[in-house]
Symmetry: C2
Subunit: 489 residues, 2 copies
């Protein structure tokens, strides 16, 4: 069977596009920059949402919903915030269409007094709302999350990785003290890292961004950074300590236990459908997607192999027992006995979709009381007795989850290298990619020049970074620690 | 304790607004027509979503996600559709802001070539997408649902009932035959009725809309209609048979088993955050919301009653055992031992929020080994031994679910009346409200005149409506059946 995907080796970017298309994950829509998330892609996103939502609730957060639109004047209230988002806004200016000689046109009489921005992020509208919710320390903390769509106009788009509209969650919390807000931002970074590693099977570096790379309006941006198989980094989640910036911009004050009035402290944190891109690039291979069992909407597929129609009855009977046993273990399983496609086609299709375990059963298996099990990650096949199948599959799902994490971790570790001179740095970037640990003099100018000359950015300064005296690779000025550079998505 | 709500009797509309506010369900935002759904309100919506989503999946549907924006030309492709939505559209015309002497302005150089409409509903963008998904009968049916926000510009808004932006789900299915599409539309009406009655405890009439009241672009609109406590009707869900209208507008054809090319048959169906308004008005009373146990994010709250701090320890110990037993039965329970508020305040607060069961425990209860249980629906209190409490609460939750359904059903039945003359009709409308069963001559003109003269609309022609010869209340012309009139939200 011919491979439907361009190989990663040959053209990584085309491989990604092919995979997203062939596995039925997403497609471009007729609206520039906006994607359609197809049913299979969306079902994986739902699993991600479910896991994250539970983690948010377990850490005390509730969901709420805030308006899609933000008055233009709100966006302008926090100076660095509007700076960061003004250049990529969808702007609503009218509220009616009408008939005309040239067909349906925008009704010039229905112009809004103040233009509305389709939210690129919701700090402003939310902090304007919090002013009504918070008067006293008794009202704090406010621990709210929102699942929503947001729009940041993009001319050059890639499915999941960079789209004008995307889906995300944005947490927005309000606290009585600076210390509590910082702890919240750090806690949510841990939640994201936990999700990335234990659900997505994707190892991540935890760190803080340089001032240059901070969220527009944040005092500190925490992030998790993952390494993709082409050696480029992908920022998989961010958590921001916002200080009192938004409370000041929207005049949100509270009376503390001593009766003193102060502005409230804030955090915000988010992950998006970008994680779908990360999942694809962290584990996918030339045969398609590899979905970690814990996030797989479908964990096991069973395909009957038969030539004569009369063979299917006995196979289906045996399958039924296996299905029941698997379901009772909480494993999701589908029996694909459709006669529209041949087994070879089905095998390729389920590999494309990254279903962790495939079971095949034919007449000879029935005779021997066995099935053939194939694992998606290594594509190994094994013959197992029907009796042992449920236990074997359960163990295998766990093993696959661990194995793809280990594989990604080994890759990441093998592709994290120190560079001690600018030449070495550039050579590594050129020839190997990956994370490069290098000394930096701590200035925005140096960071900017390295970016311009090499396209590499500082991905993060790792948390608990070991101190190590050295010299900046560009300027030779003294440095206290290495930071992580990479080219990035 | 003074009542915080205006009484229903005194001013129903104000009662509703007070309840939405005081129970922490939603509030108006700074953006005209857009609401903020507050954490408690959103948690009920999440329960609704969870139940509906499972019902959709159990009937074979998958979720997907389509763009927020619709090109203006798409909306114009189906004539009656654009007619229905053009007058209430949010229109995006620009994609950038910029700095100027007057502050941040819309950048006139960043005008879109074609304006984008914020989706009021997604038939057009979805059917444009389906063209790429459907070639053959093998690709059918397509059974897709989307959870999304939509915008229909509204000047006069009421929280949950009528807002410019609201949350909803919209199912969009594609079928090979007319018959299959009709069956799908009918099936989804049954799903909605099942949800309304068995989850929301809200009895509904199932029927079809008159041509006048159909969805813009539908050949048939099925609906469920509920009766609110003020005698006004509320449309709680609709399911549309769209014929081949959208397939023709977007050129979606398929090859059938015989190789013949035909346009695809369509349905769409939706319910929205409007259901929150229905829930409030179906069961709420002068003390606040009454949440059906099956939709209650919190089913049981336990409040300790004590005077001296040293009493709390023993109470909490007893509570812990009860909590564990309740949780093991799958009942959600919270122990509110906060010392910020007194018990009376907590009682009122949980009544406002409609928590189905409240348990109070004080030192005297401890001595006697009992607790006091209060049910929200009837506000009855009973003393129950601690041992029996878990079983009693489980039974009570079931009983409350049944009881509020019965109460709403009795009210609906008592307020469904025949009218045999126009005078009787107008008198009933004026003095009693409710559903009025009356003969109608079947013309749009009569329907329109009755609406203008009385504000009553035909809510539906019930499914399986008994045939009964009679005379139209307005024109005296012959009629074959009674239809259901009411004033409506
Ligand atoms: Zn201030
Ligand atoms: Zn056509």
């Amino acid at each position: 069977m011919a491979n439907v995907l361009t190989s990663k080796e040959e053209d990584y970017s085309q491989w990604y596009n092919d995979l997203v298309d062939e596995a039925g994950l997403a497609e471009h829509s007729a609206v520039r920059g906006c994607m359609v998330i197809k049913p299979y892609g969306y079902s994986i996103w739902e699993k991600m949402q479910g896991a994250l939502d539970k983690m948010f609730k377990d850490t005390g957060h509730s969901n709420a919903y805030f308006p899609l639109f933000i008055p233009k004047s709100f966006l302008a209230k926090e100076a660095s915030h509007v700076e960061g988002f003004a250049k990529e806004c969808a702007v609503v200016t009218h509220y009616r269409l009408k008939d005309s000689d040239e067909g349906i046109i925008v009704d010039p009489d229905a112009r809004l007094e103040e233009e509305l921005i389709v939210r690129p992020t919701s700090e402003t509208i939310i902090w304007n709302t919090y002013r009504g919710w918070i008067q006293s320390y008794r009202d704090l903390p406010v621990l709210v999350n929102q699942w929503a769509n947001v729009v940041r106009w993009e001319m050059r788009t890639r499915l999941f990785l960079r789209t004008a509209e995307f889906l995300w969650q944005e947490g927005h919390t309000a606290h009585a003290t600076r210390d509590e807000a910082v702890k919240e931002a750090e806690q949510m970074l841990e939640v994201y890292a936990d999700f990335a590693e234990n659900w997505m099977a994707m190892p991540v570096l935890k760190g803080i961004k340089t001032p240059n790379e901070r969220f527009a309006g944040a005092l500190e941006t925490y992030c998790i950074e993952a390494l993709m198989q082409d050696g480029k980094a992908l920022q998989a989640g961010t958590s921001h300590f916002l200080g009192q910036n938004f409370a000041k911009a929207f005049d949100v004050k509270f009376t503390d236990r001593e009766g003193k009035l102060d502005h409230v402290w804030a955090t915000s944190w988010g992950v998006s459908t970008r994680l779908m891109g990360a999942l694809i690039m962290a584990h996918g291979d030339d045969n398609g997607l590899v979905v970690p069992p814990r996030l797989a909407p479908l964990q096991v597929v069973i395909v009957p192999i038969y030539k004569k129609a009369e063979e299917i009855g006995a196979i289906s009977e045996a399958v039924e027992k296996i299905m029941e046993a698997l379901k009772s273990k909480g494993i999701s399983v589908k029996y694909d006995d459709s006669d529209k496609q041949r087994p070879g086609f089905k095998f390729a299709e389920y590999e494309l979709k990254g279903i962790p375990v495939r079971i095949a059963i034919g007449p000879r298996d029935l005779e021997k009381g066995t099935v053939e099990i194939a694992r998606r990650d290594t594509r190994e096949k094994m013959t197992v007795s029907m009796e042992e199948t449920p236990a074997k599959v359960a163990a295998l799902l766990e093993e696959i989850q661990q194995n793809i994490y280990k594989k990604a971790k080994d890759f990441r570790d093998a592709n994290t290298r120190p560079a001690d001179s600018y030449d070495e740095f550039k050579q590594l970037l050129e020839e190997k990619g990956g994370f490069i640990m290098a000394h930096w003099d701590g200035t925005a100018e140096t960071e900017q020049r390295i970016k311009e000359e090499t396209k590499a950015t500082i991905r993060c300064i790792p948390l608990n970074n070991p101190k190590e005296k050295g010299k900046c690779i560009l300027t030779g000025k003294p440095s206290e620690q290495r930071v992580i550079f990479a080219k990035a998505y």
